[in-house]
């Protein structure tokens, strides 16, 4: 029983969805994957706890899902693409989820993204060859 270390383990604030994480969160991801189907979403909404049991979630995982603790669900190792099938229909965007890791709002998160494009047109002008509006 040896989970291998990886180069990417040392990148701060970054969780790579590898075998170790996928292994621990398999039941959670499987539950979220089922939400591709409307009938599964309805079945979950009718009785979230029972639906968690059906997918074999442990007590801790079940609590996170029933209480919709989106950030902690991500911390439990789930994949963001699978989580999105749970949080987006509940009004929590992927950007909101990303923002939560930094303790800021979704709007602040979006502003930070916009800041990264400041001076983009001038920059591309200097680079040359770019279509530039």
């Amino acid at each position: 029983m040896v989970w291998k270390k990886h180069d990417y383990d040392d990148i701060p604030g970054t969780y790579v969805f590898d075998g170790e994480r996928a292994h621990s969160s398999y039941a959670l991801n499987k539950l979220f994957y089922s939400f591709n189907k409307a009938q599964c979403r309805d079945e979950f909404n009718a009785d979230p706890a029972a639906y968690c049991d059906k997918f074999g979630l442990n007590a801790e995982q079940k609590k996170l899902v029933v209480e919709q603790q989106f950030l902690n669900i991500l911390r439990a190792g789930t994949n963001i693409y699978y989580m999105a099938k749970f949080c987006i229909p509940r009004g929590v965007s992927v950007q909101d989820a990303g923002a939560a890791f930094q303790g800021i709002s979704g709007d602040e998160f979006k502003e930070n993204l916009l800041k990264k494009r400041e001076g983009l047109e001038q920059r591309l002008e200097r680079e040359g060859g770019y279509w530039n509006g």
């Binding site: 970054t14 979220f32 591709n36 099938k85 992927v94 890791f101 990264k116 494009r117 920059r123 770019y130």
Partner: protein, 281 residues
């Protein structure tokens, strides 16, 4: 014989599809991003390719974690889009070319690429949004398609260099098909972005522009990087950009860049558009 008439790159993020569906493409936030596609749309409308091979990753629609192939290829007559869990209305289905797909699969497997063949395949936003942004919406799409799926979700992923080599093998596969088909290869996804962790919100314009220049003129700069190095720069989801190398490997060494467009941010990402040909046009 089939031949590759060009390669394109494009983002495939969900927000692009939403913006099209909601008629927002000329709104301030979106206008520059979408306007930058017009020369590629015009070129495609002019060239009328017979087939487009769309290189993308599935985000949990057709593939779940019980079976994650490194490389998969659609081998069907038709591909359906479907609800990814957000209740969006699926697009009309996409025509495939099963004979061509099977030829590609066989050639790739003979060249020691261990493909997963898919005779039935749901295509998600990673495939659909490139089609919508490159061709506009259609009841009957004006081109046949081959979905080529690269695992960029469940690590370990193929290396950037393996993706480039897949492209080189794909070129041989395409060019050995006896029918006269004009083929475009689209590399989708990226560019820099990270959706989770305290480092969420990465957009690295420098790295993105360097990647675009590399894709055009010197793909080895990009493909010599390890996945950990790319993730460190481009983010955990920015690693998707390795799929551009499949397109690039399928082109000639010295390409002609007909169009180059970069915009950021689109949703969480840097977005790059390239139109590359073999330089004879």
């Amino acid at each position: 014989m089939a031949k590759i008439i060009g390669g394109v790159t494009t983002s495939h993020i969900p927000a692009v599809g939403n913006a099209i569906s909601e008629g927002l493409t000329q709104e301030h936030y979106w206008k520059r991003f979408f306007d930058g596609y017009q020369p590629v749309k015009d070129w495609l409308a002019d060239k009328k390719p017979d087939v487009i091979i769309v290189v993308y990753n599935d985000h949990g629609l057709n593939f779940f974690l019980d079976k994650v192939p490194t490389f998969a290829i659609g081998c069907a007559d038709e591909y359906q889009n479907a609800d990814e869990g957000w209740g969006l209305k699926p697009t009309s289905p996409f025509a495939g070319d099963a004979e061509f797909s099977w030829h590609l699969a066989e050639s790739l497997i003979n060249q020691e690429f261990d493909m997963c063949t898919c005779q039935e395949m749901l295509v998600d936003h990673g495939f659909v949004n490139p089609m919508r942004v490159l061709f506009g919406d259609h009841e009957v799409w004006p081109v046949k398609t081959v979905p080529l799926v690269v695992n960029t979700v469940q690590h370990p992923l193929p290396s950037a260099e393996r993706c480039y080599k897949l492209g080189q093998a794909l070129k041989k596969a395409i060019e050995s098909y006896p029918e006269d088909l004009n083929v475009v290869v689209a590399g989708t996804g990226g560019m820099s972005h990270q959706l989770q962790g305290e480092r969420a919100g990465i957009i690295d314009v420098d790295y993105d522009l360097a990647t675009m220049e590399s894709i055009i003129n010197d793909p080895s700069w990009f493909y010599k990087q390890s996945n950990a190095e790319i993730i460190e720069k481009a983010g955990t989801e920015g690693i998707e950009t390795i799929m551009w190398l499949v397109m690039r490997g399928a082109l000639v060494d010295k390409v002609n860049c007909l169009h180059k467009h970069y915009h950021a941010p689109i949703s969480n990402t840097g977005a790059g558009v390239l139109l590359l040909t073999d330089g004879t046009d």
